[in-house]
């Protein structure tokens, strides 16, 4: 099974909320899915993300993908009671109705965020002529969606609705925080599809470096929600181990991996500094071939 979605950044496996939902659910249910990011391909224009390809069939939309995975016997909701299943449906509806419009507004409609963060990111991940088309297409879709579902009378404009949008979203975050309480996951000790949905929508808000976002500062004040996001990232997305192993060992391995990564990063930095020093104007030696570690880094900013 192959999942096509936007690539990752800011410490997340994907920056796109719906793709994150599906990725999280795959980890929770142990589904073996190869992730193929659509960055830098023409699929950024043609494909509606996320998209799951299994044999001949293609499924889009997170809810449909989750249903498909359940039919393939990858079910993270197996241990839920019927009442908890009903609660899942209700909370997912709450998140989609109250939180998603505000997230769309924050990332795609708010001028400062769009110009400084969202558009550069998506434009830099699309191939040459598409980097002009893809971000504006998403922005138009987002604006349409908000206008059609939230703004009722033709006399209202987006500005009148903004205040209501954000206050609804803050209320939704508060309600989720109350429901989560002090637990690790919403139902019991193992994550379910509700955790996937909440994680998928909240993680970009928590991790993105948004220049202006009152909603982000509101989320950061709700310590149990940020703890929930960080916990899922640490347990399911930090190491290269897939599936759901024993948490204690996983965190130990994860810590070790993090330390090794830090050490590697430091040594890379030191090499880079060395190189910068050697290629600075005062010393001026000739370096005919590029160093291998710099080529791996892939960054193109010169010293």
């Amino acid at each position: 099974m192959e999942l096509r979605c936007w690539g990752g950044d800011w410490g997340l496996p994907s920056v796109h909320a719906e793709s994150l939902v599906v990725l999280a659910y795959c980890k929770f249910s142990g589904a073996n899915v190869t992730v193929s990011p659509i960055d830098w391909t023409w699929r950024t224009l043609t494909v509606t993300t996320p998209e799951l390809v299994c044999g001949d069939s293609t499924v889009t939309e997170p809810a449909d993908i989750l249903n498909f995975l359940r039919k393939q016997r990858f079910n993270a909701d197996y241990e839920l009671t019927a009442r908890q299943g009903a609660d899942t449906m209700a909370y997912v509806a709450l998140v989609e109705e109250k939180l998603r419009p505000a997230l769309l507004h924050t990332f795609w409609v708010d001028a400062e965020n769009y110009a400084n963060l969202t558009r550069p990111w998506f434009a830099s991940r699309s191939p040459f002529p598409l980097n002009f088309l893809v971000p504006s297409r998403h922005a138009n879709n987002a604006l349409c969606r908000i206008l059609l579902s939230k703004v009722e009378s033709p006399l209202y404009s987006i500005t009148e609705v903004e205040g209501k949008l954000y206050s609804d979203a803050k209320e939704c975050l508060n309600l989720l925080s109350h429901r989560l309480g002090g637990d690790h996951y919403f139902f019991g000790n193992s994550p379910s599809s509700l955790d996937a949905f909440v994680f998928g929508f909240m993680a970009p808000l928590h991790k993105a470096a948004l220049p202006s976002c009152p909603l982000q500062s509101h989320l950061r004040q709700l310590a149990n929600l940020t703890g929930f996001i960080d916990n899922i990232l640490a347990v399911y997305f930090s190491g290269s181990q897939p599936g759901s192993p024993v948490p204690v060992q996983e965190t130990v391995d994860a810590n070790l991996q993090k330390l090794t990564q830090l050490v590697n990063k430091e040594s890379n930095l030191i090499e880079k500094m060395d190189d910068n020093l050697r290629s600075s104007p005062q010393l001026k030696p000739r370096r005919p071939e590029p160093k291998p570690c710099l080529a791996n880094e892939g960054s193109s900013t010169p010293a």
Binding site: E61, A82, R83, G85, A86, D87, M89, A90, Y91, A93, L94, E96, E97, K98, C144, R145, L148, S149, E152, S153, E160, G163, K164, S167, E171, L175, L176, H178, R179, G181
Partner: protein, 259 residues
């Protein structure tokens, strides 16, 4: 309404008690009103009866245009006009009448979540069946919606409304669904509500809340309205505790009507 206007309305509302001559406006009952509007109107009426607040129901052909947000029903209380269940609940709360005060934070979160589920699934399904299903739109919705107007206005308004609703359905992702999928979604929603209700008389303990009013409004209207196909009603009838719930609320709050 913007936030500032809402805060202003709440402040003014807190000053005066609920008057005797409060009126609820909805489209004409026999000829014009459609399933979704009737459901919303019944939900508001049930809520006000549960709070013990008197309200007269006035049927006007142009109710949709009089409403401040373009949606029916709306109530005219004193010198304020408030539309839709959410703002009306806040408005009555500002006047000191509330059904959900006894709930704790987690229960309040659940109540809001279930209300969103009903909005997301049941109301959207009703709109879909009314306006996106060609046979229902042609036989029932368009004739009824445009009945108070003469030619050519009736055609123009009916098609405009249909175009509006179809655009909205496409924006929220329901445009690609077929009727069978919509019925399936309604079934799942009813099962979720049925699970949550269990054997209790109301959704939260022994006292009704706005969630009970909303669910009753939608379910009762679907069960008692004649459409081209009775599939929606059949899906609800599969959950017997929801039927019992509707009968109980009808008997408790509307018995003077049915007597």
């Amino acid at each position: 309404m913007s936030l500032a206007a809402e805060a202003f309305v709440s402040q003014i509302a807190a000053v005066e008690p609920w008057p005797e001559n409060a009126t609820l406006y909805q489209p004409l009952k026999d000829d014009q009103i459609l399933l979704s509007d009737c459901a919303s109107s019944l939900a508001v009426q049930t809520y006000l009866r549960m709070c013990g607040l008197p309200v007269q129901v006035a049927c006007k052909a142009n109710a949709e245009y009089m409403s401040p947000s373009g949606k029916v029903p709306f109530v005219h209380v004193g010198n304020q006009v408030v539309s839709e269940l959410g703002p009306i609940v806040q408005f009555t709360k500002a006047k000191g009448h509330s059904l959900s005060d006894g709930l704790d934070d987690v229960q309040r979160a659940e109540m809001k979540a279930y209300m969103e589920l009903v909005h997301n699934m049941l109301l959207t399904a009703e709109l879909y069946v009314q306006w996106c299903d060609d046979s229902t739109a042609a036989e029932i919705s368009r004739p009824r919606y445009s009945s108070p107007y003469s030619w050519p206005l009736n055609h123009i308004l009916a098609y405009q409304k249909q175009w509006d609703v179809r655009r909205k359905m496409k924006a929220i992702g329901w445009g690609g669904k077929c009727l069978e999928q919509v019925y399936e979604d309604v079934s799942q929603c009813c099962q979720a509500l049925s699970q949550r209700l269990g054997t209790q008389p109301y959704f939260f303990n022994k006292h009704p809340t706005e969630l009970d009013a909303l669910v009753f409004g939608h379910l009762f209207t679907i069960l008692t309205t004649q459409l081209t196909s009775s599939e929606l009603a059949e899906r609800i009838k599969r959950c017997s505790n929801l039927l019992a719930f509707c009968k109980h609320i009808e008997h408790t709050y509307f018995k003077d009507k049915s007597a």
